[in-house]
């Protein structure tokens, strides 16, 4: 079985993958604002200013590049590269380890709200896990407590195409390097409208055996995020969508990593995670590198630009010593928010801002999500644009690839109003990418 790597993903079936994009653009399968993917990938570090090794916060001002998004027809230029993890394309096909995998059902976000990926390939590329809904008919007309749908995790064998239920009443699969599957199980087995839907964190082997409950308590809602080595990261989601990040190590064994913070990316060796927290000053976000095994802070920093403080959120990417973080900068007050991405570097206990690229050029743009490095070192990202007509709105989703040096981006339509695209993100860690 070939090991899944970005390079393999870009080769082999890449042509088919791209044909899928073309078809997609031409057919324009309907809908939706972009699905909002989750996170995680590898990491790195550079020279220059940053936080001291003792973890004390620092603030740096760095160069800002004014980027521009140019919409192109068809496909993106070959030399820009594609995201190392892609999206489901025409008829649920995706490329994994040089093979085209067809999903029996459209992946759909369950109750993770886009915090985590909907489709996750295993480290060795032999299988894909994805979340979908059974009995989903939307929220309209539901009374509190009525079942709105049943989230289901399915497992697809890449070699045979066999697509089977892995766990019913569950969602947010996260696959470790050794194949263990972390996920959350809805305690009621289904989503019930407008009532608490508590979950348990569980971990099982790929064949479903040795299934264990790792969380405690039956009145909390968790969402599994990804693996950092042997630690399974998960959010506890409180009222007001307030996230609390934990690392789970085994049944009943967990540690608080961040109260209010979310995970931007996990290092490739699984030894570190970059989190972004609200910070003591609410108009700034605070970046923290932690060791998931003991919760210790390895570095922390706030970053300023002439456009205001750098704002970060979940679903970034970490390759080598560089981390890309979206969605922009500003404080919503003195500095109006702008879209863009920051490239941070982490080296020897120091976190620093390499550059910030602003992309605040597109009319109707409402979000920038999931920035990821391409194998060529460019930045791939998703942009949602709302086109307002006389009496209606159309939500379009674009994929764009940006050269961080020049800020120049090319964008093509990923989905037009009506279709939802499921992110495929490698949330394993530990040697995944250099």
């Amino acid at each position: 079985m070939s090991r899944w790597t970005p390079e393999l993903a870009a080769e082999g079936e890449a042509m088919g993958f791209r044909r899928g994009w073309v078809l997609l653009v031409l057919v324009a399968v309907g809908v939706a604002g972009c699905a909002v993917p989750g996170l995680v990938g590898p990491y790195a570090e550079p020279p220059g200013a940053g936080s001291p090794p003792d973890g004390a916060a620092s603030s740096t001002t760095s160069r800002v590049t004014a980027g521009e998004i140019r919409i192109v027809e068809g496909v993106l230029a070959d030399d820009l590269g594609v995201a190392p993890a892609g999206f489901t394309v025409e008829e649920g096909a995706l490329s994994v380890g040089g093979r085209t995998v067809r999903l029996a059902h459209p992946p759909m976000d369950a109750l993770a709200g886009g915090l985590v990926p909907e489709v996750v390939p295993t480290f060795d590329g032999s299988a894909v896990y994805y979340t979908m809904w059974e009995s989903w008919e939307g929220l309209d007309g539901l009374e509190p407590g009525e079942i709105g749908g049943v989230p289901v995790i399915r497992r697809v064998e890449v070699a045979t195409g066999a697509d089977e239920v892995f766990r019913r009443g569950s969602y947010a699969a996260a696959v470790s390097v050794d194949g263990r599957v972390g996920y959350v199980e809805d305690l009621d087995g289904a989503y019930r409208y407008s009532v608490p839907n508590p979950t348990r964190v569980r971990v099982a082997l790929p064949d479903g055996s040795a299934d264990q409950v790792w969380s405690t308590g039956d009145d909390l809602r968790y969402v599994t995020v990804g693996w950092a080595g042997g630690a399974l990261l998960a959010y506890q989601v409180l009222e007001g969508e307030y996230p609390v990040t934990f690392a789970f190590y085994g049944p009943g064994e967990s540690r608080l990593l961040s109260d209010g913070g979310v995970v931007v990316a996990i290092s490739p060796d699984g030894s570190k995670a970059l989190l972004v927290e609200p910070g003591a000053i609410a108009d700034k976000t605070h970046f923290v590198v932690v060791d998931p095994t003991d919760g210790s802070v390895l570095a922390s920093a706030d970053f300023s630009t002439p456009l205001g403080p750098v704002q970060g959120t979940y679903a970034g990417d970490w390759v080598g010593d560089r981390i890309v973080v979206g969605p922009g900068a500003g404080d919503g007050d003195r500095y109006p928010y702008v879209f863009g991405f920051a490239i941070l570097t982490y080296r020897e206990g120091s976190l620093s801002l390499e550059r910030f690229v602003t992309l605040d050029e597109v009319s109707g743009m409402v979000s920038l999500t999931s920035p990821r490095f391409t194998p060529e070192g460019n930045v791939w990202l998703q942009v949602t644009v709302v086109m307002t007509g006389s009496d209606s709105e159309v939500w379009n989703c674009w994929e764009a690839v940006c050269d961080p040096e020049s800020g120049s981006c090319q964008a093509v339509t990923l989905a037009r109003d009506g279709g939802e695209f499921a992110p495929v993100v490698d949330n394993w860690s530990g040697g995944g990418r250099p």
Binding site: V36, L238, G240, E241, Y242, P327, R334, Y337
Partner: protein, 220 residues
């Protein structure tokens, strides 16, 4: 003389009776609009997004008419604040909301993240991302369980209304100001309006909040 007194007494009784009827009519007239305008029956809050997450507006309607009461309100945070499909960042999805169990409207909530006067809302998803369900949403301020302030640090405290830039923002809720640091008593005005319109505590009200882009709320 007796006749005069008798007539005087008769007219007095008549006057008292007329006065009593008048008082009754006035009382009925005064009470009637409140009964008709119970929250959810054309009496609602209308949230309209601003140009940034901290400068939206909350407008109060009685019986489908603007009451003349409005206040600054905020929803969402960060550059993605204007996309309700983005969990933990985007503003509330658009549409009509009801109060939701177990709190509905409560004046002394004591949760770990949100306290005091709250309106707890139903789950909602933006039509463009129907499976991105937003949950655990409130209309609220930053205050303690007893409607006071807890400001232990120089930074942004969870139960302290320090500044517009910090406190109108939310992960998805609608937030209005508390009369700390000279801010308007918007939460008090909102709570008083709710009570005056017959809104109770711990009781379900349908269609008591409408969230729109700049525009009007069409009846549910």
């Amino acid at each position: 003389m007796n006749l005069f007194i008798s007539r005087f007494r008769q007219s007095n009784v008549l006057a008292v009776l007329v006065l009593a009827v008048l008082v009754l009519v006035v009382a009925v007239l005064v009470a009637a609009p409140a009964a008709q305008a119970t929250p959810g029956n054309g009496t609602y809050m209308r949230y309209v997004h601003g140009s940034q997450p901290i400068n939206g507006g909350l407008y109060l309607y009685n019986n489908w008419s603007y009451s003349g009461i409005s206040m600054t309100a905020g929803s969402g945070t960060g550059p993605n604040w204007n996309n309700p499909c983005v969990y933990n960042e985007g503003h509330l999805p658009e549409g009509w909301y009801s109060t939701n169990a177990p709190y509905h409207h409560k004046n002394n909530l004591d949760n770990s993240e949100i306290k005091g006067r709250v309106w707890y809302l139903n789950d909602k998803a933006q039509p463009s991302c129907p499976t991105h369900i937003r949950t655990g949403l409130f209309v609220h301020t930053e205050e303690t369980k007893t409607m006071g302030q807890d400001c232990p640090t120089e930074g942004d405290d969870k139960f302290c209304w320090e500044s517009a830039a910090w406190d109108y923002r939310s992960a998805g809720c609608v937030k209005v100001s508390h009369p700390n640091n000279g801010f308007p008593d918007s939460i008090g005005v909102l709570d008083t309006w709710w009570s005056n319109q017959g809104g109770g505590h711990g009781v379900a009200y349908s269609n008591m909040l409408c969230v729109v882009h700049p525009g009007t709320c069409v009846g549910p």
